[in-house]
């Protein structure tokens, strides 16, 4: 492959728990991807603008505060609005199983809950990015 997969790891909302986001960012880097981490407290607008500016293939969202049903779909919708719906959106965090089908229906490709090995996340991204 001539171009490395580019991933934006992002923390939407007010949640300050970013151990998971940082570990995933580093693991994806170790898996050969180029990773940009947004830092805390990003609005969906800021995340989408960073995704477009950085020309990423995947946006990986992390929320542990319970605001995922509100914020994940907002990122998906905004990407669509900006004509960037070929960007793969995945999510992770403390997300109840029963919320996952709803998130998937709204365009989040996959949700990784606590205990997921980072290798699995990397593999999923590699196999599912839409822009090759």
């Amino acid at each position: 492959m001539d171009r490395k997969i580019r991933v934006l790891v992002a923390k939407p909302g007010l949640d300050g728990h970013d151990r998971g986001a940082k570990v995933v960012a580093r693991a994806l880097r170790d898996a050969g991807m180029e990773v940009i981490y947004t830092g805390l407290r990003q609005t969906p607008e800021q995340i989408v603008s960073a995704a477009i500016q950085e020309d990423v293939d995947c946006v990986a969202l992390s929320i542990l505060s319970g605001a995922h049903n509100h914020l994940f779909p907002k990122v998906v919708d905004l990407l669509k609005e900006k004509g960037a719906d070929d960007v793969l959106v995945v999510g992770g965090g403390v997300i109840p199983d029963e919320d996952i089908p709803g998130l998937v229906a709204k365009g989040v490709a996959a949700v990784f809950t606590p205990g997921t090995p980072t290798t699995k996340t990397a593999e999923y991204i590699r196999e599912n990015i839409k822009r090759k």
Binding site: L14, D15, K22, V23, A27, G39, L40, S65, A67, T119
Partner: protein, 555 residues
Amino acid sequence: MKDRIKETTGRWYKEVYEKSVADPRRKERRENFESGSGIPIKPLYTPVDLEGKDYEEQLGFPGEFPFTRGVQPTMYRGRFWTMRQYAGFASAEESNKRYKMLLGSGQTGLSVAFDLPTQIGYDSDNELSAGEVGKVGVAIDSLADMETLFDGIPLDKVSTSMTINAPAAVLLAMYIAVGEKHGVSSKELDGTIQNDLLKEYAARGTYIYPPQPSMRLITDIFAYCKDNVPKWNTISISGYHIREAGSTAVQEVAFTLADGIAYVEAAIKAGLDVDDFAPRLSFFFNSHNDFLEEIAKFRAARRLWAKIMKDRFGAKNPRSLMLRFHTQTGGCTLTAQQPDNNVVRVTLQALAAVLGGTQSLHTNSRDEALALPTEDSVRIALRTQQIIAYESGVCDTVDPLAGSYYLESLCDKIEEQAADYIKRIDEIGGAVRAIEQGFIQREIEDSAYKYQMSIESGDRTVVGLNKFQIKETAPKGLLKVDEAVGRAQCEKIKAVKARRDNAAVKAALKDLETAAKGTDNLMPPILAAVKQYATLGEICDVMRDVFGEYKPTGM
């Protein structure tokens, strides 16, 4: 005597141990054993490992310097630790109900969890609060919510701990105002505000203002409480979140005490005498899985802090030297897989905290890797503490594990390594600089990554996660916060703004602005604004305009 033991220990290693491990049937499980902090663990500890250590110097007696054996002379023979479950969700009404349930079940202190907008100083109707209102704690927008939260709770009898940092002054002011309405003077109020901003920058993330004005707010609270709320713990210097973010036990002690040093220095610089505020400093630690290392950690932290306060700051009051701490069991050790196993993890962690001499304890609920805990799960968590207290017998003598060759040796190693870290942080220029430069964050991130990789490689076993898995169905009956809470909160703000004296609010906020621009203590104008029902967001915005906001550097 010692020489003989040295000789016989050497003989045992050579003639018995080495022969034994050479036998393939008795080969050891691993090539190297080490503690969670990476301290190498030998097969056997004997008096040789404590050679040259003086009992009185290292351990002493409970209630006396260096407090290794505990801060009180009688410890749990007098009374048990305060059983304090961190709780709060949705509205003030819902949380008030949960508090009454907990107090009714034998809990002895309250611990308030606020939602993220409250913790970051935004009202519920702020655009940035959308989706977050009432999610990880209770939403408090004005004194009116605080009145509901503590309705029917005797503030002169219950101690209340509040996990609030950047807007700690505002929430403390609200608590004082509610106390007045109940007829309880601020001098009688007992409780704690977390008020530890340094770990927010390093590990927890709910900062608002840059470090300098944050340090001023903190020292203003120290000064105000000394005269007005003398029983209040003005800060809870927290290693908990540093550990949750991924640090080791040694790093937890080192970074927490380094933060403590920075607060003491700031208060002294602000003109306070060390013995005027140091007795009200309190600490907050994590209790993780590595049982013996955790017990050793609490004891080492106590000894190291006592020495720092005595030698570095010349504190004279014995209370200034005491590291009093709250403990919470390790949230990050809970698994979403086979969640009932978490009850066992929590039991071990809670037992370590008790054997380490904690002053209060929160035990996590089994379902916290999945959602906010249900009432049933919270009750089991509280019962875990009660079983340790009333049934296990570990509380009947002070510091029962003291003198264990291994434990004391671990305790010495942790103290030594933490002191080395503090020295490195001193060389950087203190905790504030070390955080600004990202040193502490990088150290924590490295440990977090190593920990995760050790699980993924199978080197570290987590039962039910990477070994002994079963096929599971999705858990049922998890607690969910209704999205309607956010809308209801917005209505409440509207109602408060319609019935308060808006001219008086404006004047109070103007006074606060003047104080913020100058050097007067910020607590009195904040209290005045709170009493006029100025909202949390309005008060924090005044200071945002004067102080600016903290912007972290990216990764």
